[in-house]
């Protein structure tokens, strides 16, 4: 399969000594944590509370990392696209809950059943519970695999999605087993602290256990991936028919990889049950979880275990940050003069444009000129969106659209008069000189010629990073301001975060299916 131009650049980058992408990723994660801490401080939380919060971030991020590793085994190594991750997660969490909690009889108050009770009450030790959870999820994965693995990738996705939905229905309705909509509560923690510091210490314990598990998993998975067994998996992903013709029972291998991946997802579920202290058929097991894990693995590079973990911390970091920001918004909206209303929105949308441009830069590998063109496009779209939203009945904000009535025509004018012709010209020039050396001009022409090694000037890389950082400040900051003044509901911050995940999915699959963080050793298409 021919690689795209950006794939070529990515390959070049992989061979460089400094893994730029990983440095950026770590900086981003640190930035997220700092921003969250800052938000906590601004919201007036205690140092204790802030640290517990960060501990919570780390523990959930670890859980997602385990989920990502499981999915990586199924998809990155073996090519099995699982759209029902949430289902195996759920099985693991509920199995753990059932195994280790104390007995909980139904509660009836005044003749009304308040709590239906749940199966379990075995009060087994945590380690046993975790093993049972892994076993249950692995077995479920194996059972699903028997009919489903023969199917085409899209059928497999639909079948696994259906499976996960059926599980949610059962969890909600099989009341005496699962505790119904309330779920199972009172799940014991690994160590029961009683001091005032208890939440913080609990978080630290979970993080400690989780990190140890992650470390063991990485070593284990690396070992298995590089073994002859792992080689067969890679061959199956590459070309299953050829691998069969070589004498391998490919179904067995797919089954093993799928079951092991499922077991890992069950382990993540068990950790989740213990971290949260309760399980319920809520949004924690919704398909959005599955989609988030997809993004994490795609960002990290399918087949790249370390990348999957970093991806998990990054993407969950966004979710955690959005919660912190939401808490920053005061309960009662304040009043702001009309001009500043529009201005605040303007800042947010420009921040969005700049962030998207920075993202596009990092993900697509386009040159500066093409990026500028897209930045203008996005500004135009942003202007149109704000004008349209003013016309609907849902958003009632007066002087909102004013800046855009000016920005829109100016953007269009600038775009058509200057940006577009320049870009077209540049394209024509480089198309006609495709086998010659780079014509004089800006050093960032995006058209690649076979003879030269495209290298992005350092200045442009820095610009891209700055753009993203600005976006990280402007967009959440602007959103918080808007929510504080009642222009958007607090929850919009959530929704925008999910929309960003959607955009990431699209951009990544279009331009960088091999991921942003790539191992130097392996190239996986």
């Amino acid at each position: 399969m021919a690689s795209t131009g950006s794939g070529e650049v990515a390959k070049q980058m992989a061979g460089r000594k400094l893994p730029w992408s990983e440095i950026i990723a770590f900086v981003a994660i640190a930035g997220i944590v700092l921003a969250g801490v800052l938000a906590g401080v601004l919201a007036g939380a205690s140092p204790q509370g802030i640290l517990t919060n960060v501990g919570f971030y780390a523990s959930i991020a670890v859980i997602f990392a385990v989920l990502a590793l499981g999915f990586n085994l199924q998809w990155g190594y073996t090519g099995l696209f699982n759209a029902g991750i949430a289902g195996f997660y759920l099985i693991g969490a509920y199995t753990m809950a059932i195994a280790i909690t104390a007995p909980a009889p139904p509660i009836v108050i005044g003749g009304i059943p308040v709590y239906p009770g749940h199966l379990g009450g075995y009060s087994l030790p945590l380690a046993v519970g975790a093993i049972l959870a892994m076993f249950a999820s692995g077995a479920a994965a194996a059972i699903i695999a028997l009919p489903a693995l023969r199917l085409r990738a899209d059928y497999l996705a639909i079948a696994t999605l259906a499976f996960a939905s059926i599980l949610q229905i059962f969890a909600n309705n099989l009341q005496s087993v699962t505790g119904g909509a309330i779920g199972i509560t009172g799940i014991p923690k690994p160590i029961e602290f009683v001091s005032a510091d208890a939440p913080f210490l609990n978080a630290i314990t979970i993080v400690g256990i989780g990190s140890a598990i992650l470390l063991v998993l990485i070593l284990l998975l690396q070992f298995m991936a590089e073994s002859p067994w792992g080689r067969v998996l890679r061959a199956v992903r590459e070309d299953e028919e050829a691998t069969m013709a070589l004498g391998k029972n490919t179904f067995n291998y797919k089954l093993q990889a799928f079951a092991l991946g499922g077991a890992l997802m069950g382990l993540a579920g068990a950790l989740f049950a213990v971290t949260l202290g309760y399980v319920s058929p809520s949004s924690s097991f919704a398909p959005t979880v599955t989609f988030s894990v997809w993004v994490m693995v795609i960002v990290g590079g399918s087949g790249n275990n370390r990348g999957a973990i970093v991806g998990a911390f990054l993407i969950y970091g966004m979710e955690w940050l959005s919660v912190q920001l939401k808490d920053l918004v005061p309960q009662n909206p304040l009043v702001l003069p009309p001009d500043l209303q529009g201005f605040a929105t303007f800042i947010v949308l420009i921040g969005v444009v700049v962030t998207l441009t920075g993202l596009l830069y990092i993900v697509t590998g386009w040159g500066l000129l093409k990026l500028r063109m897209w930045a203008w496009w996005l500004t135009v779209i942003a202007s149109i969106v704000s004008i349209v939203s003013q016309l609907t009945q849902f958003v009632v904000v007066p002087a909102y659209g004013f800046p855009y009535l000016i920005v829109l025509p100016i953007s269009l004018l600038v775009y058509f008069r200057w940006v577009r012709p320049t870009f077209m010209q540049a394209r024509a020039v480089s198309a006609s000189s495709s086998n010659e050396s780079l014509p004089p001009g800006p050093p960032s022409f995006s058209k690649r010629t076979p003879s030269m090694t495209p290298r992005r000037p350092v200045g442009v890389t820095v610009l891209g990073v700055l753009a993203i950082l600005f976006g990280f400040l402007a967009v959440p900051g602007g959103l918080v301001v808007l929510a504080a003044f009642g222009f958007i509901v607090r929850d919009t911050i959530f929704y925008i975060r999910i929309m960003i995940i959607g955009v990431l999915l699209i951009l990544l699959i279009l331009h960088r299916p091999e991921g942003i963080l790539r191992e130097k050793k392996r190239v996986l298409g």
Binding site: Y155, N173, I506
Partner: protein, 387 residues
């Protein structure tokens, strides 16, 4: 490929002529017979159930028909795109939601719902073309997974965009409230959510049928869905066909969304909640076949609604004592879906792939039961996704 005039194709197996683009009549006739037999059986079963359990069964059947109409309209849209573009559009539910919200927005601003639905129909057609141009045309030839991932991304954007603009509250269409019309005591039908939905569903089915069977574009679409390479070779403009597929798909989605909103409420997740149901209808009916989508939709809708009395019976303590039995009705179509995927993945009206023998169905069962070595393992043609 030109044929020397007056000569017959030298090999009986050769199908190199223009007619290759249309389905062979014999098969269609056979399917028609099968469908009629199925219909007769269905009517017989329902009559028997009514006789045994009473008129309430008919009420459920009516409800099932209403659900089926919505599902059928949606499924036709989905299957057309699936057949021509070759990928499962996971954003379809959210496109339905978008259609419903657009109609809602317009009707809240004074337009009648009918006009709202029409405008929504047109706007979604444009959205479909935009999606193809901006995203999906670049994903051609990269296998079945990238478009799925991209469509999930699109769905997330649409759903959460709607949430941030319109909030998570439930909205109801501003339609005057009406009472059920009683046909027979115990059997009522609501004029709007019942009769209108059925009529609109029927209208859409008929127009889809007319489009596909009697117009040149329809014939081109069927040819492309059957065999892309052959269609290209016969000179069909597959680009135009692709755009047409997106237009049909998204417009049908918008109407299905409006119907769904009429029947239930307009919420940001309304479409996504039913997307598996629609996928079930499409797969059971056979991907790419609108007639299959109709049959699949009927099957799925009826089975979901008519399973309620059975599930309620299961609630009785002397049977299983299942709690909240009727809540499981949504799981019934999924179970049918999984069964179909095991035994007959190409659905009712789909094309049987090359590697399967005529007795695929029976053979699978006997192999599983007999425990033959290799019974549940991949057979070679299914490897690489059954290329």
């Amino acid at each position: 490929m030109a044929q020397v005039s007056g000569s017959e194709p030298s090999t009986p197996g050769r199908v190199w002529s223009r007619w290759a683009a249309l389905r062979p009549t014999a098969r269609f006739r056979r399917q028609l017979v099968q469908a009629s037999i199925g219909l007769v059986i269905a009517v017989a079963v329902i009559s028997a159930l009514t006789f045994v359990f009473g008129i309430i069964i008919l009420q459920y059947a009516m409800g099932g028909l209403v659900v089926s109409s919505i599902v059928i309209v949606a499924a036709i849209g989905l299957t057309v795109l699936y057949g021509i573009r070759g990928f499962a559009n996971f954003a379809y539910g959210d496109l339905m939601t978008l259609g419903a919200y657009l109609a809602l927005m317009l009707s809240l601003n004074g337009l009648s719902l009918i006009w709202g639905a029409i405008v929504s129909f047109l706007v979604l057609a444009i959205v479909g073309i935009l999606l193809e141009v901006v995203i999906f045309s670049r994903l051609e030839g990269r296998g079945p997974v990238p478009p799925i991932v991209a469509s999930v991304g699109v769905g997330l954007i649409i759903q959460n965009g709607i949430r941030s603009v319109a909030g998570t509250a439930e909205w109801i269409y501003p339609v005057p409230a009406t009472q059920n019309i009683v046909i027979v005591p115990g059997l009522g039908i609501h004029p709007v959510t019942g009769i209108l939905t059925l009529l609109v569903g029927l209208a859409f089915v008929i127009s889809a049928h007319v489009l596909l069977k009697y117009t040149n574009l329809g014939k081109a679409m069927r040819a492309t869905a059957d065999n892309l390479e052959l269609a290209k070779a016969t000179g069909i403009d597959t680009k135009r066909v692709t755009y047409a597929a997106w237009v049909v798909s998204c417009s049908f989605a918008s109407t299905a969304g409006v119907l769904l909103g009429l029947g239930t409420a307009v919420t940001p997740t309304m479409g996504f909640d039913v997307i598996l149901l629609i996928f079930a209808a499409v797969i059971v009916g056979g991907i790419g076949s609108p007639y299959g989508a109709m049959l699949g939709g009927l099957l799925v809708g009826l089975s979901q609604e008519m399973s309620v009395p059975f599930l309620v019976w299961l609630e009785r303590p002397d049977v299983i004592g299942l709690q909240f039995g009727s809540a499981y009705k949504v799981a019934i179509p999924f179970i049918i879906l999984i069964i179909v995927l095991i035994f007959r993945p190409w659905g009712i009206a789909g094309r049987r792939p090359a590697f399967a023998r005529r007795s695929f169905f029976i053979e699978r069962i006997t192999r599983v039961i007999g425990g033959e070595r290799g019974a549940i393992e991949t057979s070679a043609g299914e490897a690489n996704g059954g290329r």
